[in-house]
């Protein structure tokens, strides 16, 4: 037993910067442990380690740098976190594609349960998490010695990026398992705000009709509002928008200040990804579309008329 509870947050980062979801995980961790440490593991990630040390509420940064830790390979990262986890009461990851990939592997190596997508910390053992596409909230208790969890960013405010004065300590990386190798990455190039952390999200559905109209109708609105672009699963499946724009149970979970759903019917699966937005606007031709059940402001109209009008009046 450690004298007091200490939580480790495994950072999701891009080498130079810490992904904002990591700061939400720091907030959740600070509600569980007296002390919060952050692990920054990668290849050439000193800059990210410095950024982690500046996060308010972090007391120590563990910095592991090695070629085997490049590209976030689950096998190597999980082995490292497993080696460091003893002595921590909590090991938290953001519920990013990185965290979801690595956290369960760590939990299984530790022979403990993993709690996915926590949205609230009731006490150091008890958490709330959504199940059934967010249609129910489960309160779960873990009695395992080490609590491994992924944190849903929309459930916790982000810890401030500045103000922290954590020490940075190098930790020895573990060897390459040799099980997997990185081949390539096709990044969706965009100068828009990140969908997960944007203040405004403009989202389109199948009613947009094609990739060309999706972009020609929605881009001016997103530009005007400085927003990110999102899409329903139907729009992604139809090829109107890339996969990583998908908002919903199986895509991204967002909670912006303003969510504008254009030509989206509002299936349960989609609502699971956006119903915690502060203000929801729906523009849809069908007055019975389920999206109107959760929209603060609904406009029954043809989006091809309404969206350009909206752009013109902003």
């Amino acid at each position: 037993m450690t004298a007091f509870a200490c939580a480790l947050v495994v950072a999701y980062h891009e080498g130079e910067s810490i992904h904002p979801t990591t700061r939400h995980a720091v907030t959740a961790a600070s509600q569980c442990g007296d002390d919060v440490h952050v692990l920054v593991a990668g290849d050439g990630c000193a800059e990210a380690a410095r950024a982690a040390a500046a996060i308010a509420g972090v007391s120590r940064v563990l910095h592991a740098d090695a070629p085997s830790l490049a590209n976030g390979l689950a096998e190597n990262h999980a082995a490292l976190v497993w080696a460091l986890a003893q002595g921590y009461s909590h090991v938290f990851f953001s519920a990013s594609s990185y965290g979801k990939n690595v956290a369960p592997r760590v939990a299984a190596l530790l022979d403990v349960a993993q709690v996915s997508d926590i949205i609230r910390v009731l006490d150091a053992h008890t958490f709330e998490r959504p199940i059934y596409a967010g249609n129910a909230i489960a309160t779960v208790r873990s009695d395992d010695a080490i609590k491994v969890a992924t944190v849903r960013a929309t459930g916790f405010p982000a810890a401030p990026a500045e103000g922290g004065t954590a020490s940075i300590e190098s930790v020895a990386p573990v060897g390459d398992t040799g099980l997997s190798a990185f081949v390539s990455r096709a990044a969706a190039r965009t100068d828009r705000p990140d969908l997960g952390s944007a203040r405004v999200v403009v989202s389109g559905g199948r009613a947009l009709g094609s990739e060309e109209t999706f972009l020609s109708v929605l881009v001016p609105l997103a530009d005007k509002l400085g927003g990110a672009l999102g899409a329903s699963r139907a729009a992604v499946d139809a090829g109107y928008a890339p996969n990583d724009w998908q908002v919903g149970q199986t895509g991204k979970i967002v909670a912006p200040e303003l969510y504008i759903a254009c030509g989206i019917s509002g299936a349960i699966q989609h609502q699971a990804g956006m119903k915690d937005s502060k203000v929801i606007v729906a523009i849809n031709k069908d007055p019975d579309a389920p999206i109107f059940d959760i929209a603060d402001y609904g406009l029954v109209a043809d989006l091809f008329d309404a969206v350009p009008q909206l752009v013109a009046s902003l």
Partner: protein, 249 residues
């Protein structure tokens, strides 16, 4: 090369679930159950790999109560060669299922294990990763493309911000994302044929696995409801409301 595909029986994705008033869980009485949609994609991928001559045998595995044999029959109707039911009435959590699947792997020695990326009931997204950890093998999660060549799997994954391609050593665990493939429908003749395919039954005790739940669910509640909004007649009113009522613009 042999593959195992793990399939889970869940509440059908079209069902609007109800939380029990006493907070003990979800009302499952008389509710339509189906194969988890991501697992259908996993079965489809295995069957396609068999049709390409990459796989020689596809074994579907399900863990849970006796009714899971229906899910296994569905998998066999889609093209799986045989089924294994690990039967238990104990509430199963991902770590327990991963241990059961690892024990099945030791018996079957597959080169590939396919699972869905998450089940649409518990929304955990853990089992595949946990199985890979326990078996000490590679994992490729959220797959949108799978190619098998030269003893390795080349897998394109859906990640935040785009796509990533990994090459993993076999045996490996692959979990499927939505856009890996479009699952086929089972034809009536194939549904009939599936009834006579072999289905073996095992128990956690026979596999030597302790599946006692690690997490206790204290209660299940309905999410807070959004308060009903208003419909606005035109764009001008919408802009006015966003500026003056919501003060968001």
């Amino acid at each position: 090369m042999k593959a195992i595909v793990a399939v889970k029986r869940v509440v059908d994705f079209n069902v609007k679930i109800q939380v029990l008033p006493d907070g003990s869980g979800i009302n499952l009485a008389g509710v339509k159950m189906s194969m988890n949609p991501f697992d259908e994609i996993a079965v489809e991928e295995a069957v396609r790999l068999k049709e390409k001559g990459v796989l020689t045998e596809v074994v579907a595995v399900s863990c849970g109560p006796a009714a899971c044999q229906e899910t296994l029959r569905s998998a066999m109707a889609l093209g799986a060669d045989r089924g294994i039911l690990v039967e238990t009435d104990v509430e199963l959590q991902p770590l327990g299922v991963a241990k059961l699947l690892k024990a099945v792997m030791e018996r079957e020695q597959p080169q590939l294990v396919l699972l869905g990326k998450q089940a649409i009931d518990d929304d955990c997204n853990q089992t595949g990763q946990m199985l890979a950890a326990l078996a000490g093998i590679a994992q490729a999660t959220f797959a949108s493309e799978v190619r098998i060549a030269d003893g390795r799997a080349c897998v394109t994954r859906e990640v935040d911000g785009g796509l990533e391609t990994l090459s993993v050593a076999l045996p490996a665990v692959i979990t499927t994302d939505l856009r890996l493939n479009e699952p086929r429908y089972a034809s009536l003749p194939n549904i009939m044929k599936a009834k006579s395919k072999p289905l073996a039954r095992l128990t956690p005790a026979e596999l030597g696995v302790d599946v006692t739940p690690r997490l206790s669910t204290l209660k299940v509640t309905e999410p807070s409801k959004r308060k009903a909004g208003v419909k606005v007649p035109d764009v001008a009113t919408l802009v006015d409301r966003l500026k003056n009522d919501a003060k968001i613009l």
